[in-house]
């Protein structure tokens, strides 16, 4: 029996879809039982939400004021504390999981497997290196506990129709006080979250200003889509960092991706290559984005986008 522990990612009120994706990845392992652990200040609601994820055997709820802000240095020792029953411990390869899981691995004196994109057996996986340009098949010794991050773009999210048991666990392990959370500055938006949205509209440098990006947001709203951007648009200051799609930003896999005024640098393509359908709109017919697009349209985005929006709204 493979016993798998998934570390839940959340923002204090909602379980992040990355958690469902980790559960899907875990469910690909033969003969497995999947538990989810929720660390938070008061996790009653979060734990009940996690208990809904299909395929989950049990939710472990560990509450405490100290767990309010999901700090790696605080959570890692608590994961170690409950790790002995598990053959695998998974977290998402979001900034939350990337920050946390190596710290867990080191406390358990083992390496982490980064960005699992495919499960072959309980101890063999595929993972990307060189920005996705070289895919490794790796095998882990059976004696080793597997600590891994899961490449969320490679797995669909498990549905929420379950009703798993919730165990409340308390402990008295000494936790460090050397790290203090101060604040989170976030571009609040009502649009779907980039990493879990089914549709995403992204704009590039060709938008030419922060003001012009309005047409991207409006098109996104017409489609019910999330809004993203290329690194060039972020670096030019048109949009905040968290909108960046690509190797150094967010790696996403929506059903529909619209790349508007984005030339298609390798680092951007790395972030979207798992998308279902890629639509590219660009005035340069030689732009590399057309090499990967399923549907391409050459033309002036400032004419095409309003026309497209009008047709969608029609």
């Amino acid at each position: 029996m493979n016993k798998i522990l998934v570390i839940a990612e959340h923002n204090g009120t909602e379980i992040n879809g990355s958690t469902n994706k980790c559960v899907t990845c875990a469910s690909k392992i033969e003969n497995c039982e999947i538990d989810v652990v929720v660390f938070s200040k008061n996790g009653d609601i979060l734990a009940s939400k996690a208990a809904k994820i299909d395929g989950v055997n049990k939710v472990i709820k560990i509450d405490g004021d100290i767990n309010e802000f999901s700090l790696a240095a605080i959570i890692a020792p608590q994961i170690k504390h409950i790790s002995s029953d598990y053959s695998h411990i998974f977290g998402p390869s979001t900034t939350f999981g990337k920050d946390l899981m190596p710290r867990v691995a080191a406390l358990l004196d083992t390496n982490q497997i980064s960005d699992i994109m495919e499960v072959i057996t309980s101890h063999s996986f595929k993972r990307p290196t060189y920005a996705g340009n070289a895919i490794l098949t790796i095998e882990v010794a059976k004696s080793e506990k597997i600590i891994a991050t899961i490449r969320t773009a490679s797995f669909t999210a498990a549905e929420n129709n379950n009703n798993a048991n919730i165990d409340t666990v308390s402990h008295d392990i000494q936790l460090p006080d050397h790290t203090k959370y101060i604040s989170l500055q976030s571009g609040k938006s009502d649009r779907p979250d980039l990493q879990t949205a089914k549709k995403v509209v992204s704009g590039g440098r060709a938008l030419a200003s922060e003001e012009n990006f309005k047409i991207i947001y409006e098109l996104a709203d017409s489609l019910g889509a999330g809004a993203g951007a290329s690194r060039a648009a972020v670096d030019a200051g048109y949009v905040p960092n968290e909108m960046q799609v690509g190797q150094t930003g967010k790696i996403i896999a929506p059903d529909l991706y619209l790349a508007i005024g984005i030339s298609g640098a390798i680092q951007h393509l790395t972030g979207i290559k798992d998308a279902g359908t890629i639509v590219a709109i660009n005035k340069d017919e030689d732009a590399p984005i057309f090499e990967v697009a399923d549907i391409g349209l050459v033309g002036d985005l400032f004419k095409i986008i309003p026309e497209l929006k009008a047709a969608l709204d029609g």
Partner: protein, 251 residues
């Protein structure tokens, strides 16, 4: 009080402009005759350390690399950028992140820095592990994916690039900070600095002398190129685009 000593990790990797090619026999990626450079994130880490020193907040910067003898080239570049001295832990083995972390731990116990700045990941293996592991083994605080670092007395305030936006945390020193792309733009090396760098100390220590047993629990069975997306169709106008999207059931 200021930061006394900073250690910065420098990894020799295939230059980020090189289009990486997987060997046809699946044994890895082609490295023969390929341009090698400092991992770009490590260059940003060093630049930040140099700026901290230039503000009078640090006395000494040590650059540390773990790898083959050729890594001395990258360490010399780091010295030319302005680091004070360099250490190479020489090995021809492709070490696992935990073993690399234990090398750092050992050097840190000898050098007693109060700040270690690393790239958030190396662009070859994309592991993104060493900084966090090092913080765990040393029981130090960590601030990963830094886009702004402010040092005061015994603490650092770090702005981190996280998925939800920009998170600010405060950590006590000594600490591990890993850096993201937007922290700074590294300086160019000038010719006189390259000449000066030749006189700066560069110690070479054999990995075998450190008494660290590599962890070989993870084996690489195969390396392959990714599946390529096929080129799709071009449409001439918006109505044609709408029709295609409707046919696919996407709108």
């Amino acid at each position: 009080m200021s930061v006394r000593k900073i250690i910065v990790g420098l990894k020799r990797v295939i230059d980020y402009n090189v289009r990486v090619r997987v060997r046809p026999d699946g044994s890895g990626v082609e490295t023969d005759g390929v341009k090698m450079s400092i991992n770009p994130f490590d260059e940003i880490a060093l630049e930040e350390a140099l700026r901290i020193k230039e503000q009078g907040k640090a006395d000494e910067i040590i650059v540390l690399s773990i790898g083959a003898s050729e890594s001395q080239q990258q360490l010399r570049t780091g010295l030319a950028m302005g680091a004070d001295r360099a250490i190479l832990i020489e090995t021809n083995e492709n070490l696992d992140p935990l073993s690399i972390t234990k090398v750092f731990q050992k050097i840190i116990s000898q050098e007693n820095p109060n700040l270690v700045i690393l790239g958030k990941q190396a662009i070859d293996n994309d592991n993104n592990q060493t900084g966090q592991m090092l913080a765990a083994l040393l029981e130090w605080p960590q601030a990963t994916f830094a886009s702004k670092i402010s040092l005061n007395d015994t603490k650092a305030e770090v702005i981190r690039e996280v998925d939800a936006g920009l998170e600010t945390i405060e950590i006590n020193l000594p600490a591990i900070i890993t850096v993201d792309l937007r922290l700074n733009e590294p300086r160019y090396v000038k010719l006189p600095d390259i000449m000066k760098a030749k006189k700066k100390p560069l110690d070479v220590i054999a990995f075998g002398d450190l008494d660290i047993t590599p962890n070989d629990a993870i084996k690489i069975l195969n390396t392959e190129p990714p599946e390529q997306r096929q080129k799709g169709i071009m449409v001439d106008n918006v109505p044609a685009l709408i029709k295609e999207l409707e046919n696919k059931g996407l709108i």
